[in-house]
C-alpha cells in the first residue's frame, strides 16, 4: 500500500512528561509529522512531532500519556503531517476532535486530503469583505455590523448567554437579496456536554442539521486534541468555501479551552512563558486559526468566523481575549451588568466593535443614514453612561437639563434598542428607525454626528 510508504517504527522511549514522550534512536522523523503510539495492551493513540534532532524526537500525544510505559510501547512515524480527508458530504455529519466520524454514518469518501495546518492566504488575493449580513439583532446590525468573510468573536463570561446569542445569529443570518443559506462548521473545543447538546438540538430543531458539520471535543476528552479541533474544522471550511463555492459560518467554542491546552503543552516543554504563563507565541498561534477566514478573488465562497471565548474573571485584558482582540476584526462583548439587569442580548456596545462595518453599510447595502446614526448612538449612549456615574455621585438634580436628557436616553437605549427577544428578527430598516425613535428624544442640536440632510430625511419630527 502506497500510503504505508515512509512508515517507521521505534520503541525506545527515554522520557515521559505531561503530554510529551521523548523517543530515541529515531532516524528521519520530520517536524510536525504525525505518529501513532501503540501501548503494550494494543490500544492506539495519536500524536505529533514537536521537536526533532538527528536521533531524538519529542512527540506530543493527543490523548495524553496516562498509562504509557517506557517499555513495550511502539511509536510509529507515519511520514506525513496530520491531514483531514475532505468531502462535501461531511455537511450533516458529526466528527470527533480529530475529524473522525462518530455518528455511525456511512464512510466519508474523501475528495482530497489536506494538511490541517493550512497555509496563509496570500494577502494579494484576498477580497475585502463587504457583504452585509443581517443578523436581526439591533446591537449588532446597527452598531457592530457583521459582514461576510469577517472574523468576529463573542467575548463572554461564564454563565452569560453566549450560546443563545451565537445560535440566534446562526439562525437569523442572511445576506440581503440572496436566498442561499450558510453552511455551518461547528467546532466544540473542550465544552461541557450540555453546551454541545444545546447546539445539537438547536441545529436539529431549525432543520439545519444537514448543512452543519460538527467537530466535537468535550470537556472530559483529552485536552491536547483541542489544539487540533479548530484546525480540522477550518480545513473543511476552507475546502467548502474555496473549492465548493459555499458560504460557510464557522463557530468555534470555547477558544479559552484551546488557549489553556496551549499553555499546558508549553509548560510541559519548559518554554519561557509570556504573560500569565501563556506561551510567547500564543499571538501567532491564535492568528494561525483566526486568519483562516475571509473572501478571495476568483472564488465564490467565503468563511465567516464567530469564535466564542469566556473571559477569565470577566477581564478583557486577560491574555486570551486580549490577543484575540488584536487579531480578529472586532469583538462582541457581553456584560454581566446588563445581564443582571435582565437585558437580552446583554451586549456592551461601547466595548464592542466591528472593524469591517464601514464597507458593509451605506446606500445600496443598508441605508444612507446608517454610519451617522451608529456614530450618534455611540456618542450619545457613552455620554449617558458617563453621566450616570456622575449622577450617582453628585445627584441627578445637580445635572443640567440637557444632561438629564442624556440619562433618559441611556435608559431608552437599553430598554428599547438593545433589548429584544431570542426569536425577534429585526430588519435593518427596523433597527435604524428604532434608533431614530430614541435619538429624537434628545434635543436636535445634540445630534452633532449626523448631517443636516439625514436629519431632514429620517428624524421623526420631519418625517411626519
Amino acid at each position: 500500500m502506497s500510503s504505508l510508504y515512509g512508515i517507521r517504527e521505534y520503541s525506545k522511549i527515554v522520557e515521559i512528561k505531561g503530554p510529551l514522550i521523548v523517543v530515541e534512536g529515531v532516524s528521519k522523523a520530520s517536524y510536525d509529522e504525525i505518529v501513532e503510539v501503540e501501548l503494550s495492551d494494543g490500544t492506539k493513540r495519536r500524536g505529533r512531532v514537536l521537536d526533532v534532532s538527528k536521533n531524538v524526537a519529542v512527540v506530543q500525544v493527543f490523548e495524553g500519556t496516562t498509562g504509557i510505559t517506557t517499555t513495550g510501547t511502539r511509536v510509529r512515524f507515519l511520514g506525513r503531517p496530520l491531514e483531514l480527508p475532505v468531502s462535501e458530504d461531511m455537511l450533516g455529519r458529526i466528527f470527533n476532535g480529530l475529524g473522525e466520524p462518530i455518528d455511525n454514518g456511512p464512510e466519508i469518501v474523501a475528495e482530497e486530503k489536506y494538511d490541517i495546518n493550512g497555509s496563509p492566504i496570500n494577502p494579494a488575493v484576498r477580497a475585502y469583505p463587504e457583504d452585509f449580513i443581517q443578523t436581526g439583532i439591533s446591537a449588532i446590525d446597527g452598531m457592530n455590523t457583521l459582514v461576510r468573510g469577517q472574523k468576529l468573536p463573542i467575548f463572554s463570561g461564564s454563565g452569560l448567554p453566549h450560546n443563545i446569542l451565537a445560535a440566534q445569529i446562526a439562525r437569523q443570518a442572511t445576506v440581503k437579496g440572496e436566498g442561499e443559506e450558510f453552511g455551518v462548521v461547528f467546532a466544540a473545543i473542550g465544552i461541557k456536554y450540555d453546551d454541545y447538546i444545546f447546539f445539537k438540538k438547536f441545529f436539529e430543531e431549525t432543520g439545519a442539521l444537514n448543512r452543519v458539520a460538527m467537530f466535537v471535543n468535550l470537556a472530559d476528552e483529552p485536552a491536547m486534541i483541542r489544539l487540533v479541533t479548530p484546525r480540522v474544522a477550518l480545513t473543511l471550511a476552507e475546502y467548502l468555501a474555496y473549492e465548493k463555492d459555499l458560504h460557510i459560518l464557522v463557530i468555534l467554542t470555547d477558544m479559552t479551552n484551546y488557549a489553556e491546552a496551549l499553555r499546558e503543552i508549553s509548560s510541559s516543554r519548559e518554554e519561557v512563558p509570556g504573560r500569565q504563563g501563556y506561551p510567547g507565541y500564543m499571538y501567532s498561534d491564535l492568528a494561525s486559526i483566526y486568519e483562516r477566514a475571509g473572501r478571495v478573488h476568483g472564488k465564490k465562497g467565503s468563511i465567516t468566523q464567530i469564535p466564542i471565548l469566556t473571559m477569565p474573571n470577566d477581564d478583557i485584558t486577560h491574555p486570551i481575549p486580549d490577543l484575540t482582540g488584536y487579531i480578529t476584526e472586532g469583538q462582541i462583548v457581553l456584560s454581566r451588568d446588563l445581564y443582571n439587569k435582565g437585558i437580552y442580548p446583554p451586549i456592551n456596545v461601547l466595548m464592542s466593535l466591528s472593524r469591517l462595518m464601514k464597507e458593509g453599510i451605506g446606500p445600496g447595502k443598508t441605508r444612507d443614514d446608517h454610519a451617522q446614526v451608529s456614530d450618534q448612538l455611540y456618542a450619545s449612549y457613552s455620554r449617558g453612561v458617563d453621566l450616570r456615574s456622575l449622577a450617582a455621585v453628585v445627584g441627578e438634580e445637580s445635572l443640567s437639563e440637557t444632561d438629564r436628557k442624556y440619562l433618559k436616553f441611556a435608559d431608552l437605549f437599553e430598554k428599547k434598542f438593545l433589548t429584544q427577544g431570542v426569536r425577534e428578527n429585526r430588519s435593518i430598516e427596523n433597527t435604524l428607525d428604532l434608533a431614530w425613535d430614541i435619538l429624537s428624544d434628545l434635543p436636535e442640536e445634540e445630534l452633532t454626528n449626523i448631517k443636516e440632510e439625514m436629519i431632514k430625511k429620517y428624524h421623526p419630527k420631519y418625517k411626519k
Binding site: 496563509p120 474555496y242 510567547g280 492568528a287 452633532t448
Partner: protein
C-alpha cells in the same frame, strides 16, 4: 559555498552541522524545498538558522546550503506599487506562479516558491545624466533617470561603496534591470552597473551628514499636525490597545502625508488590512499631486499567520527600501504596524535559541534592536552628487498587552522616538476618534515646525495652538473637580472653559477617517478652525468677565453652535470662506448678546 546538514528542527529554528565557514547573518537554503533561512548564531561547526517559511515536513539530514551573502533586498525601479512578503517576494507573482503549477492552492502562500523581487523582463526608459566616459564616480552619484511611476522619477545611482572611472554609459533607451547601463573601471578591472543593485538589510545605507528635522510632515490629521506634529525625518510611536485606532491612523498617515514615498509594513497584523490598502490606494488620489496613491507606495506584508521569522526580517526589508528612496533625495515615510509583533518574533526566536530572557521573556537586546531601527530614520544630506537632501520618517505602532503602557516594548520604544501619540481605550469606547489622548501625548517637534507654519500658513499658528492646548489642560483639571461636586459650583469662567473644550473636542480633535471631507484637513483649514473656536472663546470670555453667564454665551449661538462643531465635516478644504462667515456670525451673536445684556443691566 558552505554545505551542511540539518541536525535539529524546532519550530522556525533549524540547527545545521558541518557549517564551518558560514557567515553570521548569511542567507542559506534549507532542506530539499530550499526554504529561505538566515544564520543567527554560530557555535563550533553548527549554525542556528531562522527559517522564513514553514518548517513542517523538514527532516534531520536534509541539506543546508550557504549563499555567500547576507539577507539582501533588490533595489531598483519596480518597487513602487508592489506588495512583498517579509523577505521581499512579490506576493502577486507568487499567486500567478501557483495558479499555473497548483491552481487549487493558488490563493495560499505555499512554501519553497522562488521568485525575484523585481520583474526581469520589464523595460524601463533610461535617460543618462551628464556623466561621461572618464569621469570618476563613487557611491550615490547620479547615472541617470527612469520615470518609475507617474509620481516618482527614479534616480539611478552608483551603488554605495562602489567607485571607479566610467568607461561606458548606456545611451538613452529602454533597458531591463539585468541589462548593464554603465561600466566602471576599478584598478584595471571592469565592473558593470545596472538599474538595480542589492543591499544587505541589516546594514544601514550610508549618508553624508545627518541634519536636524525642520519641516513638518503634514498629515491632514488635525490633532497630529496641530498639537503633536511630526517632522520629516522624525520618529514617532502610536501605542494603543486593540481597536483604539492604530491601524486607521497608520492608513491615514500613509494616505495623506506630505511624503514623496511611503513604505507600509504590515508586520504580524491582519490580512484584510493589507487587502484594504491594496484595493483602496489605487483609487485614492495623493492630495498633494492628485495622482493615484499606489504610485508612491510600497507594501510589505507579513500577516500574523505568516512565518514568524520573516516578520522579524520585514522591518529591515522595509527600512532598507526607505533609505534607498531617501538616497534619491525624497522624503520617505515608513509606517510599521505593529512593532510589537516584530518584538514578539524576536522573543520567539530567542526562546527557541534558549537565550536568557530579560523582562517578560523578551531578549535582553530588545532595547538595542529598537534603538538601531529607529536610528535609521532621519533627514540627511545624501552621498553622491548632485547634492541631495532626503529623509526617512519612521512611525511604529505598538500593541501593548492589555493596553498597559508600562510593558517592555512600549517603554523601550519611548526612549528612541520623539513623538508619542498615546491611544486611549476610554476615548475609543466612546468612539472619539482618533483616540489620541491629548494629556499623555507629546511631540518634540512642536517648536521645530512652528517656523514653517508661520511662514507658509499663518503667523498666529503657534499662538492658537498653545491656547487650544491650555484650554484642554484646564478642562482636564476641572474634570477632577466636576467628578466630585458637579458643574454647578464652578465659576462662570470655568464653565466657559468646559463649554469651549467640548467644542474643541467635538469640532476639532475628533476626526472621522471615513468621512470624505473630514478625513483630510488642509493646513489652512486647520488654522481657520482653530481661529473660529479661539476667537469665539476670547470674545465670550470678555463677556463672562463682564458678568454675563457662560450658558448665555452658548445660547446666543443658537444653531451656530452645531454649525461650528460640524464645520470639520461640512466645509471642504476649498470653501474656507464659509468658516470665516461662521466666525463672523458667531462674533456678531456675542456682540448682540453684549449690547442686550448691557442695555438690560
Amino acid at each position: 559555498m558552505v554545505k551542511g546538514k540539518i541536525s535539529r528542527i524546532t519550530g522556525p529554528l533549524v540547527i545545521a552541522e558541518n557549517m564551518t565557514g558560514v557567515q553570521m547573518y548569511e542567507m542559506v537554503r534549507v532542506g530539499e524545498e530550499r526554504l529561505i533561512g538566515e544564520v543567527t548564531r554560530i557555535k563550533g561547526d553548527q549554525a542556528y538558522i531562522q527559517v522564513y517559511e514553514s518548517t513542517t515536513g523538514l527532516k534531520p539530514g536534509e541539506v543546508v546550503e550557504g549563499t555567500g551573502s547576507p539577507l539582501s533586498v533588490e533595489l531598483g525601479p519596480g518597487l513602487l506599487g508592489n506588495i512583498y512578503d517579509g523577505v521581499q517576494r512579490p506576493l502577486p507573482f507568487i499567486a500567478d506562479l501557483l495558479s499555473k503549477t497548483s491552481p487549487k492552492r493558488s490563493i495560499f502562500v505555499e512554501k519553497g516558491v522562488e521568485v525575484s523581487p523585481l520583474p526581469r523582463d520589464k523595460k524601463w526608459h533610461f535617460m543618462p545624466s551628464e556623466i561621461k566616459t572618464g569621469d570618476k564616480v563613487s557611491g550615490g552619484d547620479l547615472l541617470g533617470l527612469v520615470q518609475e511611476t507617474e509620481l516618482i522619477l527614479h534616480k539611478v545611482m552608483v551603488p554605495p561603496n562602489t567607485f571607479g572611472e566610467i568607461s561606458w554609459i548606456a545611451p538613452e533607451g529602454d533597458y531591463t534591470i539585468v541589462d548593464p547601463i554603465a561600466e566602471i573601471k576599478v584598478n584595471g578591472k571592469v565592473k558593470e552597473l545596472y538599474l538595480s543593485h542589492r543591499w544587505p538589510v541589516r546594514f544601514p545605507r550610508p549618508y553624508n551628514l545627518k541634519l536636524d528635522p525642520s519641516e513638518p510632515l503634514i498629515t491632514g490629521l488635525r490633532i497630529i499636525d496641530t498639537l503633536f506634529p511630526m517632522a520629516k525625518g522624525g520618529t514617532g510611536m502610536i501605542p494603543g490597545g486593540f481597536g483604539t485606532g492604530k491601524t486607521v491612523t497608520m492608513h491615514g498617515l500613509a494616505q495623506w502625508s506630505s511624503a514623496n514615498v511611503v513604505l507600509y509594513i504590515g508586520c504580524g497584523e491582519r490580512g484584510n488590512e493589507m487587502t484594504e490598502v491594496l484595493e483602496r490606494f489605487p483609487t485614492y488620489k495623493d492630495p498633494w499631486t492628485g495622482k493615484p496613491l499606489m504610485e508612491r507606495t510600497v507594501l510589505i506584508a507579513n500577516t500574523s499567520n505568516m512565518p514568524v521569522a520573516a516578520r522579524e526580517a520585514s522591518i529591515y526589508v522595509g527600512i532598507t527600501i526607505a533609505e534607498f528612496y531617501r538616497d534619491m533625495g525624497y522624503d520617505v515615510l515608513l509606517v510599521a504596524d505593529s512593532t510589537s509583533r516584530w518584538a514578539e518574533a524576536l522573543r520567539e526566536i530567542a526562546g527557541r535559541l534558549e537565550e536568557m530572557p530579560a523582562e517578560e521573556g523578551y531578549p535582553s537586546y530588545l532595547a538595542s534592536r529598537l534603538a538601531e531601527f529607529y536610528e535609521r530614520a532621519g533627514r540627511v544630506k545624501t552621498i553622491g552628487s548632485p547634492d541631495r537632501v532626503g529623509s526617512v520618517t519612521v512611525v511604529g505602532a505598538v500593541s501593548p498587552p492589555g493596553g498597559d503602557f508600562t510593558e517592555p516594548v512600549t517603554t523601550h520604544t519611548r526612549r528612541f522616538t520623539r513623538v508619542f501619540w498615546a491611544l486611549d481605550t476610554a476615548l475609543a469606547y466612546s468612539r472619539h476618534y482618533p483616540a489620541i489622548n491629548w494629556i499623555l501625548s507629546y511631540s518634540a517637534y512642536a517648536d521645530t515646525v512652528s517656523e514653517w507654519w508661520a511662514k507658509n500658513v499663518d503667523p498666529k499658528w503657534k499662538e492658537y495652538r498653545d491656547e487650544i492646548m491650555d484650554i484642554l489642560l484646564r478642562e482636564n483639571e476641572l474634570q477632577e473637580i466636576v467628578r466630585l461636586v458637579g458643574t454647578e459650583s464652578l465659576d462662570e469662567g470655568d464653565k466657559l472653559v468646559l463649554d469651549v473644550a467640548r467644542m474643541i473636542r467635538e469640532g476639532f480633535l475628533k476626526q472621522n477617517a471615513f468621512d470624505p471631507i473630514d478625513t483630510f484637513t488642509s493646513p489652512k483649514k486647520q488654522v481657520e478652525l482653530m481661529k473660529l473656536i479661539i476667537d469665539y472663546y476670547r470674545k465670550a470670555r470678555e463677556l463672562v468677565q463682564n458678568g454675563i453667564p457662560a450658558a448665555k454665551t452658548r445660547e446666543s449661538l443658537g444653531r451656530l453652535y452645531v454649525d461650528i462643531i460640524k464645520a470639520r465635516f461640512n466645509i471642504p478644504n476649498d470653501k474656507l470662506e464659509m468658516i470665516e462667515d461662521l466666525r463672523k456670525h458667531a462674533l456678531d451673536a456675542l456682540e448682540e448678546l453684549k449690547s442686550k445684556e448691557v442695555k438690560g443691566a
